[in-house]
């Protein structure tokens, strides 16, 4: 594998809109098998493509990569103390999440403008409601706002906004409430959509909504549950169950950073089972 292959793979995943983490060795204290600049791509299933060191670092990299995909935050990790050799590596794990999906419902100048500008701040834009929409903006200018909002609020979208005046927005919210929409669904509704920038013009509404979407994107807490982890009973390393070597003993599943640890466990389960249980 050429060093560039990892980057090519990363590019392919990014183009396909697949989430992945890019791990890069940024520091090495010898002895260690990785060199500064070594890279690997970790996909959401915990598969590793590339090289960032062997069993000393790979389980930690997978664990942190999956965590990074969960919360979107990049992190710097160190294998200090987890290696039989006295070496250690520091690895930057960068989350590469696909752009969030914005559904813009309705045909109006505000909708057209927003669709054009949202692409510029790295959102994927669709003009109809998709069930995996992260955010929905309804701008039908009164031609079906209520129906569109009810459908959007029934889905998992974290941001649902309505383009309307304050007065009309209140009326729509009241209609939805009397139609039996739950309060916690209504609480997700931003009506009127957009940061309050004062009495703004029609064409400026798009800017107010974009600003609100940026704020929402970076404040929104990750919906994905943290990946399941376990402690290797032999070496004490925390490993991700998605990628770990496992062994079932007395009905309990034990996870290991590498086949070496598993072999040592299998040779003498009684010695390690207590620690791992």
């Amino acid at each position: 594998m050429r060093p560039a292959d990892v980057l090519i793979r990363a590019g392919e995943l990014a183009s396909a809109g697949e989430p992945f983490a890019l791990a890069t060795v940024v520091n090495v204290r010898r002895p260690a098998s990785a060199r500064r600049g070594d890279r690997a791509v970790v996909t959401a299933d915990g598969a590793v493509y590339g090289w960032v060191g062997g069993s000393c670092s790979e389980p930690a990299v997978v664990r942190e990569a999956l965590a990074a995909l969960g919360d979107g935050e990049s992190r710097l990790i160190s294998t200090e103390g987890s290696c039989a050799s006295k070496g250690a590596v520091e690895i930057l794990v960068e989350a590469q999440l696909p752009a969030p999906l914005l559904a813009i419902i309705g045909e109006s100048p505000a909708a057209e403008t927003l669709a054009r500008l949202a692409v510029g701040i790295d959102w994927r834009v669709t003009r109809e409601l998709h069930e995996d929409s992260d955010a929905v903006v309804v701008a039908t200018m009164g031609r079906g706002d209520e129906e569109a909002l009810a459908a959007a609020l029934a889905g998992p979208a974290g941001y649902v906004g309505l383009v309307a005046s304050r007065k009309r927005a209140d009326a729509v919210a009241a209609t939805l409430r009397s139609a039996g929409l739950e309060e916690d669904a209504l609480a997700r509704l931003k009506a009127p959509a957009g940061l309050d920038l004062g009495p703004i013009r029609q064409e400026e509404v798009a800017v107010a909504i974009l600003a609100e979407l940026v704020a929402w994107r970076h404040a929104s807490t990750p919906a994905a549950p943290p990946p399941e982890e376990a402690v290797d009973p032999v070496c004490g390393m925390t490993v991700s169950l998605a990628s770990a070597e496992t062994h079932v003993h007395d009905g309990t599943t034990y996870a290991f950073c590498c086949v070496g640890c598993r072999a040592r466990f299998e040779a003498d389960p009684a010695r390690y089972a207590v620690i791992g249980a």
Binding site: A164, L197, G198, P199, Q202, A208, A211
Partner: protein, 315 residues
């Protein structure tokens, strides 16, 4: 009205007569503000909009009467809340619309002025004995449409200026948002290697000059937005000093809290008062957690919009 000028010029070229309906006043809120125009040609073609769909059919009928020789007229449409809900208007409110025949000679003159970015206003008598007469007047600094006495003034101001200092990635993104907001965007940097047309194809002008020197020699009015991204006291301090001497409506400067504080210290040492410092939006842009240059540009655009709306309300 700018949005229909091209169409009106086209009708002119074909020798078509046309009537125009212009929103001259709104009460409470309405979809479109004063200056929104719906034009109807003698062939029945329509351009533009006055309310985004609600009262257009009625206005079209009025326009037909004017085209058939009827007198110019001022009509009002009260959009009762109940009714607005029925027809699906996004808001209630009242619109006052003036209808008259289009002065074909004025349209060409107006289109030329707009193209050359000359500040003019279209003055229309909407009440009184001269009702329906129109003329072009020089614009004297009033950039909002207004009724004075019997006359409705519709300004056609040249684009406001946005000056972005510092030829960095953020400048390209802010420049693009500036264009969207209707600014004529200039990027200025002292370093010829960075301030190139190739890096900033979307803006109106790229200038290689010391920032403070450039700003001192260029027109600035209340509508001007100044974005300081140079992020180096060597450029920032003299530049902001000049910016604070101008009537610019928006001054924003990049730099984290510490940078801003140390820059303010230097500006104070140069004789800048705290009151003047308060005009500077720093760090630049609304706090919305922006990460990428494009997101910072959204934060800056939102801040500019909020600032100029606040100024409009105060005026």
């Amino acid at each position: 009205m700018k949005d229909v000028l091209d169409t009106l010029e086209g009708w002119n070229a074909e020798g078509l007569r046309f009537a125009t309906a212009t929103v001259v006043k709104i009460e409470r809120s309405a979809p479109l503000g004063p200056g929104a125009v719906l034009a109807v040609s003698e062939k029945g073609e329509v351009a533009g909009s006055v309310t985004g769909g609600c009262v257009e059919p009625a206005v079209y009928e009025e326009a037909q009467e004017v085209l058939a020789g009827g007198p110019p007229r001022l009509v009002s449409y009260g959009i009762a809340d109940e009714e607005a809900f029925e027809v699906g208007l996004p808001c209630g409110g009242t619109v006052h619309i003036f209808l008259g025949m289009g002065r074909r000679d004025l349209i060409d003159e107006l289109a030329a002025a707009v193209k050359d970015e000359r500040p003019v206003a279209l003055a229309t008598e909407i009440t009184g004995s001269e009702i329906g007469t129109q003329r072009l007047v020089e614009l004297d600094g009033h950039f909002e449409a207004a009724i004075e006495g019997d006359t409705f003034f519709l300004p056609f101001a040249p684009r406001p200026e946005m000056y972005v200092f510092g030829a960095v990635d953020h400048a390209a993104a802010i420049g693009r948002m500036g264009k969207f907001l209707g600014y004529r965007v200039t990027i200025c940097d002292a370093r010829a290697r960075f301030a190139t047309r190739e890096r900033f194809p979307d803006v109106d002008e790229v200038v290689v000059q010391w920032p403070d020197e450039f700003l001192r020699g260029t027109p600035v009015d209340e509508r001007t937005a100044i974005c300081v991204l140079t992020h180096d006291h060597k450029f920032d301090v003299p530049l902001l000093k000049v910016a604070l001497e101008t009537p610019a409506g928006y001054i924003g400067a990049m730099g984290a809290k510490r940078t801003t504080e140390s820059r303010n210290e230097r500006l104070r040492a140069e004789g800048v008062t705290d009151e003047q410092l308060a005009r500077i939006h720093a760090p630049i842009g609304l706090r919305i957690g922006s990460r990428t240059p494009e997101e910072v540009a959204v934060a800056v655009a939102a801040e500019i919009v909020a600032t100029r709306r606040k100024a409009a309300v105060a005026a």
